[in-house]
Symmetry: C2
Subunit: 214 residues, 2 copies
Amino acid sequence: MPAAFAAAAFAPAPPDATPFDRRLGEILHAAAELFAEHGYAATSIRDLSRRCGASLAGLYHYFHSKQELLFLVQRHAFQTVISAARAATPPELPPEARLRAFVASHLETFLAHRPWMTVLTHEDEVLSGDYLRAIAALKHDYYQLAREIVTALPLPPTLAPRVAVMSLFGMLNWIYTWHQPKRDPGATALAEQICAIFLRGAAPTARRRRPAQS
Amino acid sequence: MPAAFAAAAFAPAPPDATPFDRRLGEILHAAAELFAEHGYAATSIRDLSRRCGASLAGLYHYFHSKQELLFLVQRHAFQTVISAARAATPPELPPEARLRAFVASHLETFLAHRPWMTVLTHEDEVLSGDYLRAIAALKHDYYQLAREIVTALPLPPTLAPRVAVMSLFGMLNWIYTWHQPKRDPGATALAEQICAIFLRGAAPTARRRRPAQS
DNA sequence: GCCGTCGGTGCGAACGTTCGTTCGGTTCGA
DNA sequence: TCGAACCGAACGAACGTTCGCACCGACGGC
């Protein structure tokens, strides 16, 4: 019976992985790349079999269906993001430092595992049933962490916390559509600039000008 | 020979439209809804024929191919966004007011024509060839307008203008993934909050603290 | 030490369905 | 009577998935 538990997938693969898990990791990696390039619906299992040098039927020893394949990719991606974020943002950090750590962690993960994170961001809500519920729960976890961090900041009373969190996620999750490694800043510099915008704004009130009547 | 020039599509349809253009508008409207709901690749022409009560073959009197259908939807959507933004942001406005007008225009258009704008945002880069080039040119126009407006602001020297513009677009373009009309603020209030974040930040330096030495 | 078989792995070929698109023809107002 | 609008039926291709079988290293009985 095929896998319900994915193990390795990123980079070098742990040495204690079984051959099955190692091969599954390769397949998920190729699937993440294809889904990121052409989208889930426009990628066929035949494309995947070509990309990983396996036969069509052979692939089905590693997953039950195309939907499960997407689920495994998204679950692994979410688990990576969430565990990195949790490790980077201990609750005892001061609010602003915690926000900066969260943003830095998010960006490092996203830029380091771009195809996976593109699938996570772009193929939202295409799963259904239990798969959808499981991914939605992970998404909720991540959102709750961000909300906890953002609401610890001294938000202006006119700013709805939900709008603040979603705007932050907007800046972060939009990056996969425009970031070019050779042209744009790396994760660290990008995190600083985005935190600067989110915390202080892109045009902080001018040095000594009057409050500029409204 | 079918249309290369779409005319009406939104709301009530201009009274001077030909029956052809009026019907094409209905079809594009239905297509925008379906593409927004299930994605371009997962929507079939048969779905569309069901939704607009036409036969499969009959639809092809209004477009040449599924790709052209997506192109017509995206072009119309982009033209709507761009012309609204241009009208709302005359160059003689002061920089901050111009930015506020741009954001307000963007949000009003996006929330008023949500399925169209979802297709614009989500189905990026799925076209190819001349269709892709034409849409990319419109996107470039819109980006240039935003960049012109943002760079007129007194940006901190450590903030790359490209990052600032893309972060603004991130906040704006992410909204289609989370905004619920019954729960979240409308276009005007949302525009104010997002401008507040983008201009002054979500945690502006406290009221009377010293300028916080650097 | 050898043999038999057994499960994990993999494949070629095919299943039935759905896809985008086209063909040939009908209807009908101008 | 002509052309725009429309449709039923079909085309070939591609889809996700399954069937039946081959290969092969592991392992227990003799």
